[in-house]
């Protein structure tokens, strides 16, 4: 039960971080927190049910999560390099400005 609460807390922190942060890296960390919370929840319940499936799932989830993280980090680097900032609201502003200028052109 404690671990379920832990995973809930992680989920809450992740959502909070997702809502309040504008830095790409911080957003990414929040997403990872949520994903880990979900995995943790899965594993806890599987171990409570006494099924070996949880361990198998853990390994699967970690490996896919790592692969996804790699891709996301690469994308973050590209985005940060392209726009020269890692602030999401600024990037959105830049994209919108570009759209508008294209429409005008």
């Amino acid at each position: 039960m404690d671990f379920v609460i832990l995973s809930l807390v992680m989920l809450a922190v992740g959502i909070y971080g997702l809502l309040t942060n504008r830095q790409l890296l911080k957003v990414f960390i929040s997403v990872e927190l949520i994903a880990t919370a979900a995995t943790l929840n899965f594993v806890i319940l599987a171990s409570a049910a006494g099924v070996g499936l949880g361990e198998a799932f853990l390994i699967l989830a970690f490996s896919t999560d790592t692969a996804i993280s790699g891709v996301i980090l690469a994308l973050l680097v590209i985005v940060a390099k392209k726009y020269g900032t890692s602030d999401i609201s600024k990037i959105v502003q830049l994209i919108q400005d570009k759209d508008e200028s294209e429409v005008e052109a």
Binding site: L19, T20, V51, L53, A56
Partner: protein, 663 residues
């Protein structure tokens, strides 16, 4: 039997695996890649067709084969009339679209990605309808969503496409969560994901009298939520209009066979599952079934009215799909006896006729967009001369859409109207009839705007040409099916192992037909005179500003509300972020204040303490000197005043002292 076993597995595994080979083959030759995709679609369609005889001549009972996948979860195929009907439709449409894409997507960039996603889309949709358990189905359900997201934003360099794709992904995701919750409830109740297991579980619990119908009703509503988001029904229908940013071939596939039809499949499947226990149906009857019908009816009329106002040729078709799927939902809402009721068969039959006429509409719209490079109907007109074949095919399409006899939708829509009439809610019946009338009006409007009248200025500038053969032939096949499909009704009924009370001839002679046809006349005439004869009366009202046009031009404000919600969340998070910023600054401010104070004290001690005494004396002396010199210079009256003030002050102080001491 063995052949069927093999083909029931291959029909979804083959496109999925073949999709992985598309990038490999593209390395050698682009042409080989295109024809490879077509070849795979042909084989898939063949495999799907090979399943048909077994079901047609079989008993209609569901058979399933499965293999162990993960402990407790198996992977399998579920063969019954419903799944084979959908499989055949999807495979057939995959073939049509693969051939059409050869012409429509010619010369586009990123075709490897396109064909990869197309095969993946077809494979996952077939996998969705043929899965024998909920987990497998859910995985394919998500894959369908992913593929449609990727295909809708296929032209990823256009910001609108990317935005549309994201919108589709987020809106359908709401339904996915509901479906996942329903799967969770069903698993906790019956301890299994497989359809057979759940059916057995419901039956056993129902006979033992221990069935928790309350929980199952909640699960049924969650399933409905999943279907609403996927099938673009009220209140989550706005994504389908945005999805028009997709290439038209993708739109055709999305509307006719995959994605939006997944919701209909889901509901039809769950109505079959729920109908095994009369207790459960009795629990669903007061609330769940009416809600399904109401959603269907309201979506039908809202979609139809919106189709009247949009100026985007694909937008008309998109709203038309929303409206037609509303019809199917309305039919499913009356299917209180499962497969035995007319509504169930009617909506599936209409699902297929809709696939034919809507697919045809999109293929033709694709040809038109291909030829003149715009989707705005105001820039079209007079295409009758330059695109004669498309003109004839589009005429077939709008006749079928409107449900005029003897084309496909006349029979299927008639069956739905019959089933809703039998259910007997007068408002629903009136709304459905109104929708059929409006359907005719928007069809005529689209037809007139695109093909009739004079050539617009936009068209005069360019050389308009008829669509190439590779795009027209798939459209012709669909047009042929539109014409004959309605007559196949008895065949389809016996394929579905459903006994129909009404015959083909009965569709002409029953009471609904004259009402239905007479309703088409006024709206048809209005649309005819407004757009065909260019009579300005109605058009001026439609162009003017009044409450009705405001509501319609805003799409009943659904998107505005969603935008408001999104902005609200964003504002709250902004507020929280600022608050957090303030709080995190607080310790810093506090510390900095203390440091500042300490610094001040230090400086004071260091600098002032030494000299302060000297300074004080100096200051006092100076002040006295300046005061005295001022007094010297001052005129005598003011000196007297000073003295008077000093005396007064002294007296006041004396009084105060006396009062306080109390002498």
């Amino acid at each position: 039997m063995i052949l069927e076993d093999v083909s029931s597995w291959l029909v979804w595994i083959l496109p999925l695996i073949a999709s992985l080979f598309v990038p490999l083959i593209a390395k050698y030759s682009a042409k080989a890649r295109n024809y490879f995709a077509v070849a795979i679609s042909v084989i898939t369609a063949g495999l799907a067709l090979s399943l048909v005889p077994g079901v047609f001549f079989g008993s209609g009972e569901a058979t399933s084969t499965s293999v162990a996948w993960i402990t407790g979860i198996s992977a399998g195929v579920f063969i019954d009339p419903l799944s084979v009907l959908f499989t055949t439709l999807v495979a057939f449409f995959g073939l049509i679209i693969a051939i059409y894409s050869l012409g429509y997507m010619k010369g586009e960039e990123g075709l490897t990605r396109y064909y990869f996603l197309l095969l993946l889309f077809i494979g996952s949709m077939i996998g969705l309808v043929i899965s024998d358990n909920l987990i497998q189905m859910f995985i394919f359900w998500e894959m369908v969503g992913l593929c449609s997201y990727a295909l809708i934003s296929f032209w990823y360099k256009r910001p609108e496409s990317v935005r549309a794709g994201t919108k589709v992904f987020i809106m359908t995701r709401i339904g996915d969560i509901a479906l996942l919750a329903a799967i969770g409830i069903l698993f906790t109740m019956f301890g299994t994901f497989s359809f057979h297991g759940i059916i057995n579980g419901i039956q056993t619990a129902a006979t033992a009298g221990t069935l928790d119908t309350g929980l199952l009703v909640i699960a049924a509503f969650l399933v409905l939520g999943g279907a609403i988001a996927k099938s673009a029904q009220l209140p989550l229908f706005t994504w389908l209009y945005s999805a028009m940013e997709a290439p038209t071939s993708v739109s055709a596939l999305l509307h006719a066979a995959t994605m939006v039809k997944a919701g209909i499949y889901l509901l039809a499947r769950f109505i079959l599952i729920f109908s095994v226990a009369p207790v459960l149906i009795a629990a669903l009857q007061p609330l769940w079934f009416p809600v399904v019908t109401w959603i269907g009816v309201l979506t039908a009329i809202i979609g139809a009215t919106l189709a009247l106002t949009t100026t985007d040729i694909k937008g008309v078709l998109a709203y038309s799909t929303i409206s037609q799927i509303g019809f199917m939902m309305a039919g499913l809402g009356t299917a209180v006896e499962g497969a035995a009721s007319i509504g169930w068969f009617a909506s599936l039959f209409h699902m297929i006729s809709h696939a034919f006429f809507e697919g045809l509409g999109f293929l033709l719209a694709g040809g038109i967009i291909h030829a003149i490079g715009t989707r705005d109907m105001r820039l079209m007109g007079g295409l009758k001369k330059t695109m004669p074949i498309s003109f004839i095919l589009m005429a077939i399409m709008i006749i079928t859409t409107s449900g005029l006899p003897p084309f496909a939708a006349f029979f299927s829509k008639g069956l739905i109207i019959t089933s809703v009439t039998d259910a007997g809610n007068l408002i629903q019946i009136i709304l459905l009839y109104a929708t059929t009338a409006i359907t005719f009006a928007y069809s005529v409007r689209m037809f007139s705007l695109v093909f009739m009248g004079k050539e617009s200025e936009h068209l005069k500038k360019q050389h308009v040409h008829e669509a190439p053969k590779v795009m027209l032939i798939p459209a012709m096949i669909l047009a042929g099916l539109c014409i004959v499909w309605g007559l196949a009704e008895p065949l389809v009924a016996s394929f579905m192992h459903v006994s129909l009370e009404t015959s083909l001839l009965g569709a002409f002679t029953n009471l609904e037909t004259p009402i239905f046809l007479s309703l088409l006349i006024p709206t048809g005439l209005i649309a005819y005179y407004s757009y065909y004869k260019n009579y300005q009366g109605v058009r001026n009202i439609a162009a003017g500003k009044n409450p009705l046009t405001t509501i319609l031009s805003h799409g009943y404000f659904f998107d505005d509300v969603y935008g408001g919600i999104a902005r609200g969340i964003s504002n709250v998070s902004d507020g929280v972020r600022r608050f957090e910023g303030m709080i995190s600054l607080f310790p810093q401010k506090f510390a900095s204040t203390i440091i500042h104070l300490a610094n001040e004290v230090h400086v004071y001690l260091d600098v002032y303490a030494d000299k302060s005494l000297d300074k004080l004396i100096n200051v006092l002396a100076n002040k006295t000197l300046t005061g005295v010199s001022k007094m010297k210079k001052a005129p005598s009256t003011s000196l007297r005043n000073y003295i008077a003030a000093a005396v007064l002050g002294f007296i006041l102080i004396a009084i105060l002292i006396i009062l306080t001491i109390g002498v």
